[in-house]
Structure formats: structure tokens, C-alpha cells
Amino acid sequence: MNDQPAWVKIEREFDAPIDVVWEMWTDPELFKQWYGPMGMHVPTAEMDVVVGGTRKICMEMSAPDRKMTMWFTGVYKEVSRPARLVYTESMCDAEGHILSPQSMGMPEGHPDVTEVIVELREDKGKTIMTMVHVGAPEGTAGGGGWRQAFDKLAALLTG
């Protein structure tokens, strides 16, 4: 039994103005430059950064013998420039049809829909960013009970 909660939370301080960090998330050309680390790159990033707007990202990983392509789609749920951005993410095919993570070779337990929450605030010319990537968003399957379910889960796993 491990003590990890069912989300990833990362806080970073950047020596950059808040508007620049916001652009990193919302300008497709800038987003492509940082989103594919560790041998991956991002040839396609389509983003309609308005509430209800869709996003579609392609990630490519080149191995010596083949090229692996993964597509991700999602919807922007909150867009409050420059302080808060919330979007969903699911694996999909090139046409944007959602695929199950397991059919794409992801480990068991990977949820179908994840949600990314980015919060930015400025402090003395620097920007503090908090990113939370959570297993499933509120208001979907389970009638909005997911967040509480994950809270409980965290309590169970750390208790």
C-alpha cells in the first residue's frame, strides 16, 4: 500500500511575469515548445481557449525503428486570464474520438478523463504556479462525487 494521493500537485516558482506563464499554457506555439519532454515532441496543438472550447494535442515519440503517436483531447472548463485555467484531458485518435487509456497501453487504473487545474499568482515580479492533475473532473461520472471520492481515497491511502 502506498501513500500517494490520486492526483499530482506541483508548485513551481518562475522568474517570469504572470502573463508570460499564462501564454506558455494558452499559446499553441509556445505550448509545443515545453509540453513534450524526454524524447517526445508536440507537432500539433490546437487550442480554443474559451470556456467550452476544445483542445487537441498530438505527441510524438521517435524510436530508432518506429514513430509512436498519441493524441489527447479535452475541453476548457475555466479560463480566467491570467490566474486560473482548467481543462480536461482524454486519450483520443487523430480525429478526436476518445479512446480508453487501456486500449492505448496505459497501465490499469489510469482514468478515462483527467483534469488539469493551473493557478498562477504574481509575487515580487515572479510567478508562482500550482498545477493539479486529478483523476477525473467534478460534474462527470458519479454525479459530481468524484472530487469527494478522491479526497476520501487520499484519506484512506494516507490514513
Binding site: M1, N2, Q4, P5, A6, W7, V8, I10, R12, F14, D15, A16, V20, V21, M24, L30, Q33, W34, Y35, G36, P37, M38, Q102, M106, P107, E108, G109, H110, P111, M129, M131, H133, G135, A136, A141, G142, G143, G145, W146, Q148, A149, K152, L153, A154, A155, L156, L157, G159
Partner: protein, 112 residues
């Protein structure tokens, strides 16, 4: 049940407030169905149904021999649900390292 089916069952079992309350109660130790039903304004059969859902999802187990068949928490499926995050953390960390470099490069370019 495959692992995937079991995780689906675990997720849907967790998406109900009564069942989460039952799990929270079981964190303190094993308990009988009667004891678990006590805080709820719900019939015993209704509570039993929730317990059956939790049992089928593998989140709790019940002893076979004891007279009152107490329920206890089974944490393994919960741990499996949580593990996907561990694959993601290093990817995000690496992304933000690159983001920092990109912003630094933009700043250097402006300063030139």
C-alpha cells in the same frame, strides 16, 4: 473480473456518499452491518446493498466464519486506483523544467 473491471467497480463504488461514509467508518477497524447502519436513516437491506457493492468492488471483505460477519477494509484496489499519478509526476516535472528554459531563452532574446 479483470483488473480493469475491478477498477471500474472501485471507482463507481466510491462515487456514492453512503458508501464512502461506510469506508470511512471501516478505517477505524472492522464493524458489523448493524454498526455500519447506525449513523444512517436507511433500512438495513438498503445498507446491506451498499455493502454488497463495496464487497463486489473488492473494497471491503467480510469474514466467512464469525457469527456477525464483520466487514473490513481491503486497501489493495484503492492503491491501484492511485498509482497512475506516479507515472505522471516525473513527466510534469520535466515539462516545467523545459518551460523554465523556454521562458529564460525568451527573456535572454529580449535583453539582447
Amino acid at each position: 473480473m479483470t483488473d480493469s473491471d475491478q477498477l471500474d467497480a472501485a471507482f463507481s463504488a466510491l462515487a456514492n456518499p453512503t458508501r464512502r461514509a461506510i469506508l470511512a467508518h471501516l478505517l477505524k477497524g472492522e464493524a458489523t452491518v448493524n454498526a455500519l447502519a447506525e449513523p444512517f436513516e436507511m433500512s438495513l437491506p438498503a445498507i446491506s446493498k451498499h455493502i454488497r457493492v463495496l464487497e463486489e468492488a473488492g473494497l471491503i471483505s467480510r469474514s466467512r466464519d464469525a457469527q456477525f460477519r464483520p466487514c473490513r477494509l481491503n486497501a489493495a484496489p484503492l492503491a491501484a486506483v492511485a498509482q497512475w499519478t506516479e507515472a505522471y509526476r516525473p513527466i510534469w516535472e520535466a515539462r516545467f523544467d523545459v518551460m523554465e528554459q523556454v521562458m529564460q531563452a525568451m527573456k535572454d532574446k529580449r535583453d539582447e
